[in-house]
Structure formats: structure tokens, C-alpha cells
Amino acid sequence: MRLEPIDKPSLARSLLPPVTALGATVAIASFLAMLAGANPFSVFGLILNGAFGSKFAILETLNRATPLIFTGLAVAVAFRAKFWNIGAEAQLYAGALLTVLLGTGLLPWPSIAILPTLALFSILAGAILLLVPALLKTRFGVDEVVTTLLFNFIFLLFVSMLLEGPLKDPMGMGWPKSARLLPEARLPRLVDGLRLHWGFGLAILSAISVWVVQSRMTLGYEMRAVGLNRQAAAFAGIPVNLVLVKTALLSGGLAALAGFSEVAGLKGSLTLDLSPGFGYTGIIVAMLALLHPLGVIFAALFVAGIFVGADSMSRAADVPTYLADIMLATALLLMVLAIMLTRFRIVRN
């Protein structure tokens, strides 16, 4: 068997595989729900209801989607240029770290001055953290998959060390937790009285900006060219290594904003459970969005919805929340396969 590319896929060809993939995901999850002794229909009803069924549920989903939009964008930008940044988790913590370093009293400024400063330094921290693997790759050909992945562990342990030592909140009753941000350094609510902060607005704005960069600016053109055919890009005169470094800076900065927004918008301080793997889930988000920056928003809402919905479903139906992880993993694998089937047909020899 081999694959033959399809030049112009028909409408059915481009819709059927993704829909089938979604259906198969639901079928597999239903089967598992039945194994757990629950009625699949009520399980899905509960997930849907838990994610989008009330104002509170929707706000919770949007809040959960916010860091995923940032990390999803970070991954989408990097993967578009075929720079495999697996280290969004570390870059997220780098942003969060800078936010608490500068926001807990070092800069006694009003909100209007301190928030942009914190955001900017977070971006710089994430960018610089990813600059190292980028330079190792462009200078010495070191595989960025390995370096960015390992940086996650190194950086998390580094943050852990800081939280156990110099950054430990003296008022924290011995927990590894940083001091709280100044009130001026907290992101305000998007709408008064609703638990949704400006981080979500910033995420949407970032997605639109990335989309504009990719479709309208020379930098985006360069990044796409390098991703699609590095050799042709080099031949045409595009400075491939420089583009890869710029891509890394942008990607690292976006991932760091997730950390900034979580600390300044939601948590108010830094702990080691700030991110339940948002950096890794960002990869799923980006893949489901086919690396399209605006698609990342919807993919992040979908993924966040499943997580939030599964949480509330689990409480009501007594089915483990692992169902959410399984659903996402199945959806991702089947979706990747489905997308391939929209572009290729399988031919028997």
C-alpha cells in the first residue's frame, strides 16, 4: 500500500474524514464510559453541560482556554517553520517567574505602567529561554526536540529550587509558594463581576496579531517558506538561520505570556502546580488547529471545554477525569490521520 496525493480534494473528501474522526472519538469514549458503569449519553450530556451549560461554566472554560491559546500559538508559530518547540511548558514558567520577580514589590508602579512592563519582561524571558536551543540548532545542529524537551525538566526544577528558597513566601506557612503580586500588578476583570480576566482578551489579540504577521508580513512569509522547503528558501536568499531564531523568539514569547496571564490574571502567585501541562497540551491545540493562529482559539476552547466538562462530569457521574485525556489523545491521533486522508488516498499495489 502507498499514498497518492490528491490534487483537488472534493468537499466530501475534505469533510468526511474529520467528521468520522470526531465520531470515532466519541464512540471510543462512550465505550470507556460504559466500562466505568455510566450511561454514555448522560456522560456526554454532563461534559457538554459542565463546559458550556451555564454562565459560570462558560467563563470557567474561557479561563481554562486562555493559557492554551498562548501555548497553542507558541507551538503553531514554531511548527509552521518546522522548528519543533516542545518546551512551551518551561517558557510558560519563565514568564510566570519574571511576573512574580518584578510584580511582588520591586516595581511600585500603577497598573498602567507595571502590567505592560511585566508582560514585556515575561516575553523576553520566554524568548531568551528558547533562544538557547535555537542557537544550538542553527550553530551546531543540535536537535531542538531534545533540548527544548529537556529544558522543561531543568527549568521546572530551577523554579522549584527558587520556590523552596529565595522566592518562598514568608507568609506562606511553609508551602513552596511565592509572595502574592501587588494589587496593581493583577490583570483586571474583562467585565465587572465576572471571573474572566484580561488575559483572555490578550490571548485573542495575540492570535489575531500572529495571523496578521503570518499572512501580511515578510517575517511570516519567511517563516512559512522556511517551514515548507528550507532548501528552496535558502536558495532564494532567505536567511534561514536568522528566520529560525526569530521564530524561536516569537514562539518563546507567546508561551511566556501564558505564564504571565495565569499568574497576573488568575492565581496571583507562583506555585509549582501553576500549569497542569499547558505547554504540552498546547501541542495538541496547535495540531488540532492545523497550525492556523485563528484556529488555535477554537481548538483551545474545544480542549478547555473537554477538560472543564470532564471535571464536572466526573463529580456527577463518578467516571474518572482521565476520560478527558483519553478523548483528547484519541481526537488528536484520529484527526492527524483524518487530515492526511483529506490530502492523500491509499492505493493498493
Binding site: M217, A225, A233, F235
Partner: protein, 513 residues
Amino acid sequence: MSKSSVEALCLNAITKCFGELTANDAVSFSINKGEVLALLGENGAGKTTLMNVLFGQYTADSGTVSVFGQILPPGNSRAALDAGVGMVHQHFTLADNLTVQENITLGTRPLSSLKLNYFKTRSKILRLAKEFHLSVSPDARVGSLSVGERQRVEILKALYRDVKVLILDEPTAVLTPQETNDLFATLRLATTLGLSIIFISHKLHEVMAIADRVCVLRHGKKTGEVLIKNTDRDSLAKMMMGAESKSPQVLPSKSGPALLELKDVVTPNIGSAPGLKSVDLALKSGQIIGLAGVSGNGQASIADVVGGLSKPITGEVWVNGVAVENWSPRDAVNSGIARIPEDRHSMGSIADFDITENSILERYNTALFSRRGWLDWQSSRAFANRVIEKYDVRCPGVDTPIRLLSGGNMQKLILGRALECNPTIILANQPVRGLDVGAVNYVHSQLLSARDRGAAILLISEDLDEVMSLSDVIYVISNGRLSPKFNRGKMTPAQLGVWMGGQGFDEEITHAP
């Protein structure tokens, strides 16, 4: 000549369509034992598709393949090999890091077999090598062999498998004229020993020299089948090309000042390909400078230096009378060098970019198409439209991904985007490889009119005929060294072939003080 008329291989009414394109339209031919059949046709005539059907890579829409009367099951890639049909591909399928003997025996023994039968294998190889005059050492590492020697290994590999029908796909493309003669001697010997040979080519004089019978393909159809003794070159050419397109006339031109010079340029070796060894080359205005040579003798290094992809270790590149300092592809483009890359798919274009995006690939960052980092899609699209109109690129529109274009149209776009900016220097590396005859003539006439406008053109080609018909001056490159300059018409193909084989250089060295 008394030839037994046992039918060795027969293709009966093979039809194969890809979408709307009919690659083979009811093509039939057969070959007898001890015969050389030439399969003649331009690029894109359907020769390769036909061979892929024969070897089961494709399943024909209709028609059958039979070997010695047995019909092969369609779509089974082992059937033809097991029935004794072997093929030497244009691009060799040898493992560089294994020895000749290891390459020859690779895949002939089942995985579970423990015995290596080293001596038995070896004596069989040596016997075959002697029988067919294919001198090559069984212990040599393939990576260290010349192209001609590798081809001998490929032929030995087929003979070792006891083939009865041997198919050679464009076997002379990589050989010097002298090596070609040796190959022909081997092939003649093979037929007297009972082998049948299918010789795939688009070179008429070679077909006339080696074949008993010729089968001509054009646009997927068989346009004729004749005995060589009953035909001549002109009628074959007519069958092959129809009356579509004439190759452009080349009139002599006046050369002007040198626009680009390489001075004593040395580059490192790239893998098994030699680097340049102290190359001096001047590209003069109004001149086509042809660079002939067997593939892999340093042509890529010259193209990379001129095109800005690599910098010499020592030596200088001068453009318009000034030594360049930082030399990159972008500098090359900005210095007025138009570049037609060797491989239009992997270097010249980005398959998933549309025509607009591909047409601004070299200049997207200039004031023509962007301002302060913002792309101007309107003028980009206008430029793409101008190129496809002026250079006759046939496509549904500028938003079409370039991968959907045929090779000829893709090449016209690459040519157009380069020529549209009035270059003074043109680097054309294998500009017509794989194109049909109409596109070939189009590209050649564009190069000639650029020359007449005063451009300096470096034409790199492995096709000696192309170099000789277009160039005002010819250099031969061999093992990274450049021959003296030969003016148009001063050398015969055989004389150039001596240089291509690397012989003239040695004399020069011994004459040197």
C-alpha cells in the same frame, strides 16, 4: 544475422491514465531473444510510466505484460524480476558504503540463510565480469567508484540475477562519449550471448548506433516501430517530436566586458563530489558560456559559488569589476544575477506556495513587493500575472499551488521571475532537464534573446549536445578542474569527450614547469 525469433517480452495494449492525463495509450511492443530494442521518446512521452507498469509499480488500466509467453500478474513488483527482467535505472540504486560484491548480492539471499557462499558468489561475479568485459574489482567500495564503474556494477547486478531481458534507462546520460562506446560494446556482446536489451533514450544518434529495432513514443502513444536498417535520423526525429517545435537558431554574437569573474577559486569537496581546484572563469556580456562535463565533477560547486550559496575557501568572486565581500544568494540576486537552479522542485520552488508567493520568492523583501516588513500582495499578484502572461505559464490562476503545474510550466515561471528583473548575468544550471521539446526550445530561445540583450550566461549542462548547440565558448569541467576555453565549433564531441574523461588535464600538468 540470424536471430532466433523467440519472443522474450511482450507488452500488449498497455493503457495507463492519471486523472485526465493519458500517460500510455494502448502501447504495445515486443522484443525477441538477442535483440536490442530502443524505446525512443522525449521526456514526458510515457517511457517511465511504461517501465513502471512492467515492473508492477503501477497497475495498468488495461493491457497485459508477458515474459516468455507467461502473463505477469499486474501490480506485483516481484513478478517481472522473478521472470528474468532486470533494469538499470538512470539514478543508480547502489549502497555507497558497501563493496561491489556486497551490492551485487544484496537482496539475492533469503534473510534466514546463514551461509554466505562468499567464494561461489565471487567466482560467479568474476566470471560474468570477464564474459561481458565489465572490469571492476569486487572488493572496491562503491562510494569510491566513478559513475561509469557504478553503471558496470549495476549491469553486473542484473546479470548476477540471471536476467534474460535487460532494460537500461538513459544509460548514457552520465557517461563520456568514450565510456558510451565501451557500454555499447558490452551490450553487443550481451546480445550475442542471448540477452535481450531494451535501450531507453531520447538521443537519436545513440539509438541509430546500438539498436536493431526502434519503437517511438510520443505523448503516450506509439508513433512508429521500424527496423534501424530501414530508417534514418530525420524520420525518427519526425516520429519522436512530430512537427511541433523547432529548436532556435543560434547566430554568433559580440561579447563585451566581463560581468562576473571567478579568480583562482577553491572550494571544499562535498561528499564524493570534488570541490573546485583553482578555477578561473570570466562571464562576458553577450556570451553564452557552456560548461560541459560528466555529472558530479564540480558543476554544483561552481553554481553554488556564482549563485551565492557558498563562499570559496580561497580566491575571489568579482561582479562588475568589483571583488565581492559578503556573498550570499541575496547579494547575488541584488547584483543582477538570475539563477535557474538545477532542481526546480527542491530548490527553485516551494511546492505548497501558490504562484504569486513563488514568483516573489527571491525579491519579497525589496521595495517592489514590501514596505517596512509589510508585504504588498497587490503588486505581488500583478507581478505574478505579468510573468505567467509574458512567459506563457499555463495555469488556472496565480492562486494555484505551484505543485499542480507541469515541469515545463514550473520552469517557465522560475525563468520568468528571474528574467523579468532584467538580469545582467544568468546562471542556468540544467535549465531544460526533464522538459518536453516545446518547453526546451522555449527556454533556449529565452536564453538566446537574453544573450542578445547583452546578458552574460553560464549554461551548465550534462547534455553535450545542448552545450555545443547554444554556447559561444565552452569549458569542460572534470574533477573540479576547468579545461582551457574552446570557441564555438572548434571541438568535436569526441575531442570534448577526452576532456570530460579527465585526460587533457594530466597532459597539461606534465607540461607545466
